[in-house]
């Protein structure tokens, strides 16, 4: 499942739903990303832009790539779009496989993809002003592990 949501996502409910539909899995890995308040900048929210007709197919392509690389039983991705208040979940990724290594690595791969190669754009909204933010150097290093 791939879902772009303009309303809150619930990682607990998404995880439970994911577990419910599995057959044959011995391992499930999940990741939840939250909007960091960023202390000094007093971030109030993120605004996440996306391109309808481009973003979802691109993520589907990454999921297909993950399924080619690892023997996955199921994948679920939920990503917020629009305004996301600080502290709220912005992304959820779950992967299932027979064994844990595939589940862990595919989850890691998909998160790295979402950080640097998925068609989203993030604007930090704070009291000191709004700022479009780019991936950190570490994000690019992380993504480079899979090339």
């Amino acid at each position: 499942m791939i879902a772009l949501s303009s309303s809150s996502i619930d990682p607990v409910a998404l995880g439970a739903e994911f577990l419910n539909g599995l057959a044959g899995a011995g391992a499930v890995a999940t990741f939840t990303g939250l909007v960091r308040p960023e202390g000094g900048k007093q971030v109030e929210a993120l605004f996440i832009d996306h391109a309808a007709g481009i973003t979802e197919p691109a993520i589907e392509g990454a999921v297909a790539e993950a399924k080619r690389r690892w023997p996955l039983i199921a994948v679920s991705i939920a990503h917020r779009i629009g305004r996301v208040p600080a502290g709220e979940p912005v992304v959820f990724v779950a992967t299932a496989a027979e064994h844990r290594r595939a589940a862990f690595e595919a989850c890691d791969f998909l998160m790295d993809y979402l950080k640097t190669d998925a068609p989203f754009w993030k604007k930090q909204i704070s009291r000191s002003g709004d700022e479009w933010i780019e991936p950190r150097a570490e994000d690019y290093t992380d993504s480079g592990r899979w090339r």
Binding site: A51, I54, H79, W132
Partner: protein, 82 residues
Amino acid sequence: MATLTFYGPLSDIMGRKRVVEIGPHPVSIRSLVARLEDEAPELRAALSRMRVNYARNNAMVSPEEMASEGDDIALLPPFSGG
């Protein structure tokens, strides 16, 4: 006419969409954007600072791709998600 759709930081500068004339002769996306830069120097300034990818009717293309009447051309700044 074709529609240029702007995302991320470009949408703050240009708004979400601009409709542009194609004209009687085929024109590349690069040329269409250059024409708009002449009208909107703030777009030229933004594009000089960032590497942008292009899509034509939701398919990723190079800026040399020719634009046709009715096309939706997306200008996609560097991605950042998660």
